[in-house]
């Protein structure tokens, strides 16, 4: 087993996703302790230009599968290629991001390989026998389960922002192993008719380092403007509580909490959010929490590192103004 740690890379518009770089960084850290090899697996067409970046973040080798059928993600084609590559190289550990792609691909791949899968992992630790113990949140982070397995390959999808990015080492290079791609037409049964991505300069909610979020206290969809403005100054994503979404102030895709997205940014700024248990479950693992709320008794203050009792419509524009000056 020469190829011990596999990182399945994800890229859009010629750019590697941040979570893929996080996985390479962590794979490198693991391998530096154990002397194993980090192999990045890159599928697509014309993706060769990503190889130096992949090497800089820690891959010893890149398994490259290029074919027109792999230009866009499809469950069938990606599963088929990865199933073959994994059977051939027999890695011990396979890392994917817990993204839309990872969530779709990893269970199918695990089932085809007849192995387990740790979904939405937020922590990995090695024991003496190398078998890794995994931590994953359950009940939206109200609890954690710790699991292990001795059945290899161990596949896991890792939540974005779990591992810190390494500093890229531009002098590193990686060996490239090209793999032949044979795709059965039956793997391309599903037909993608349309892909619509909202033109947004903002980061994905689940990827974001900073999130500015509002609750019922925002009072209207128009008022979200004050939150959007602060988010723009900080390069942050915008979130909303269930109360704000159910009141029609923001679309569901912005919802943070047990029945929305679970996030763990470096900084979470909660504006006019009371802090219902379902919301706290979805953002409680944020590194630093700031709460701005009129009600000094609001639950959110019990988990906030910094709290301001005050009117968000006064405080948030002042923050925007202050950050603009300080960050200019």
């Amino acid at each position: 087993m020469a190829n011990d740690i596999f990182v399945i890379l994800e890229h859009t518009n010629g750019q590697l996703r941040k979570v893929s770089l996080e996985l390479l960084s962590e794979g490198r850290r693991l391998a530096d302790r154990t002397g194993e090899v980090v192999s990045a697996v890159l599928l697509g067409t014309g993706v060769g230009e990503l190889i130096p970046v992949v090497a800089a973040y820690g891959a010893d080798q890149v398994i490259l599968a290029e074919a027109p059928a792999l230009e866009n993600y499809s469950t069938g084609a990606y599963t088929s290629v990865l199933n073959k590559v994994i059977r051939e190289h027999q890695p011990k550990l396979v890392l994917l991001g817990h993204t839309v792609l990872g969530k779709d691909l990893a269970p199918r791949l695990a089932q085809r390989l007849g192995v387990g899968l740790v979904s939405d992992c937020v922590g990995m630790e090695q024991d003496d026998n190398y078998f890794v113990k995994f931590t994953r949140p359950i009940y939206a982070g109200k609890a954690f389960s710790h699991i292990h397995t001795e059945v290899t390959p161990i596949i896991t999808t890792i939540r974005p922002n779990t591992f810190t990015l390494a500093d890229p080492a531009q002098d590193r290079s990686a060996k490239v192993i090209e793999t032949a791609v044979n795709i059965d037409p039956a793997d391309l049964r599903a037909i993608i008719r349309e892909v619509v991505r909202a033109a947004s300069s903002r980061p994905e909610l689940t990827d974001a380092n900073i999130i500015v979020s509002a609750g019922r206290g925002i009072k209207s969809a128009e008022n979200f403007r004050v939150v959007d403005e602060l988010a723009d100054v900080l390069g942050a994503a915008v979130g909303a509580s269930r109360a704000a979404v159910d009141s029609g102030y923001r679309e569901y895709k912005y919802q943070v909490g047990q029945t929305g997205k679970t996030v763990s940014p470096t900084l979470y700024i909660a504006c006019g959010i009371s802090g219902a248990i379902q919301h706290l479950a979805g953002m409680g693992s944020s590194k630093v929490i700031v709460a701005i709320n009129k009600d000094p008794e609001a639950n959110i203050f019990a988990v906030a590192d910094y709290g301001i009792v005050g009117d968000l419509f006064e405080i948030v524009p002042l923050l925007t103004h202050e950050f603009k000056q300080r960050l200019a």
């Binding site: 993204t99 839309v100 969530k103 779709d104 990893a106 269970p107 199918r108 695990a110 089932q111 085809r112 192995v115 387990g116 899968l117 979904s119 939405d120 113990k133 949140p137 359950i138 009940y139 109200k142 609890a143 954690f144 389960s145 710790h146 397995t149 059945v151 049964r189 599903a190 037909i191 993608i192 008719r193 892909v195 619509v196 991505r197 689940t206 569901y252 047990q258 029945t259 679970t262 470096t266 900084l267 248990i277 379902q278 590194k287 630093v288 929490i289 019990a302 988990v303 906030a304 590192d305 910094y306 709290g307 301001i308 009117d311 006064e314 405080i315 002042l318 103004h321 950050f323 960050l327």
Partner: protein
């Protein structure tokens, strides 16, 4: 059209999670609900039946209490229910659950299999896709809208930063996202009718599954322990006039917390 909906029971979202003396999740005093995303799946199944005719069969795996969830789905308008009631399923991982569920579903005719995009307790989003792999069919996750044209489903679903429209051939497994529909409440007449509808209870023996193949013994992933998140401590309150507090917050975030 033969519609199968897989349901799970979960803790109420209000539930506070505590561990019992053995360090396991303590279910005492917690009320159980149908997994919220599975409600969208039931509703969509009933709507498809209303549009195309056919039958909606709801399926659940678990202990004796799953029949409550199935009765509720029958009251909403599902036609039949099948439960595999087996306490030894506890400790099963997604590999085991998918294999068992596939055996149950293979006993039924199906054109479309629906469930929620995630169960809010385990939240692993694996079993529906594993099921599709076992049955050799396509799956689409996080479905926002659905149109059926002969044996083709045209499905709009969530992707990172947007949505995608994808066409899959039936049978297929689809997982429901919030927004797909508004689940109906069971009517009084529906609740009365549900009492007379068929709720079939299967055993492992009926399916030819060995008890050794399920629970932790059959699982690929071994459960080591549970823990609760570290309690966050309330931090610092910043007092003063709005201008002052805002300036101080910006200062501490930049200089002390260093998070920007």
């Amino acid at each position: 059209m033969n519609i199968v909906v897989w349901l799970r029971q979960t803790f109420d979202t209000e539930a506070k999670i505590v561990l019992d003396s053995e360090g396991k999740i303590d279910p005492s005093g917690v009320s159980l609900i149908i997994n919220p995303y599975d409600e969208f799946a039931i509703e969509e199944g009933i709507k498809l039946k209303e549009q195309f005719g056919g039958e909606v069969t709801v399926v659940a795996l678990g202990g004796s209490h799953v029949s409550e969830a199935l009765r509720c789905a029958l009251a909403m308008g599902a036609d039949k229910a099948v439960a595999l009631q087996e306490s030894a399923l506890e400790g099963s991982d997604e590999f085991v659950t998918a294999n068992v569920l596939a055996e149950v579903i293979k006993t039924l005719p199906y054109d479309i299999i629906l469930t929620g995009r995630v169960a809010i307790d385990e939240q692993s989003s694996q079993v529906a896709i594993r099921l599709a792999e076992i049955l050799g069919v396509d799956s689409v996750s996080s479905v926002l809208s659905l149109e059926i044209n002969e044996n083709v489903a045209i499905v709009t679903h969530d992707i990172d930063g947007g949505y995608e429209v994808i066409e899959v051939t039936l049978p297929a497994v689809l997982t429901a996202q919030k927004g797909l529909n508004e689940p109906r409440y069971p009517s009084v007449a529906g609740i009365m009718k549900a009492k007379k509808k068929e709720l079939k209870i299967l055993s492992l023996a009926d399916l030819g599954i060995s008890p050794a193949a399920i629970g932790q013994t059959g699982a690929k992933m071994k459960l080591a322990s549970f823990s609760l998140p570290p309690q966050r401590q309330a931090g610092r309150r910043i007092f003063g006039e709005p201008e002052q507090t805002a300036a101080e917050l910006v200062q501490v975030l930049l200089a002390e917390a260093k998070v920007i």
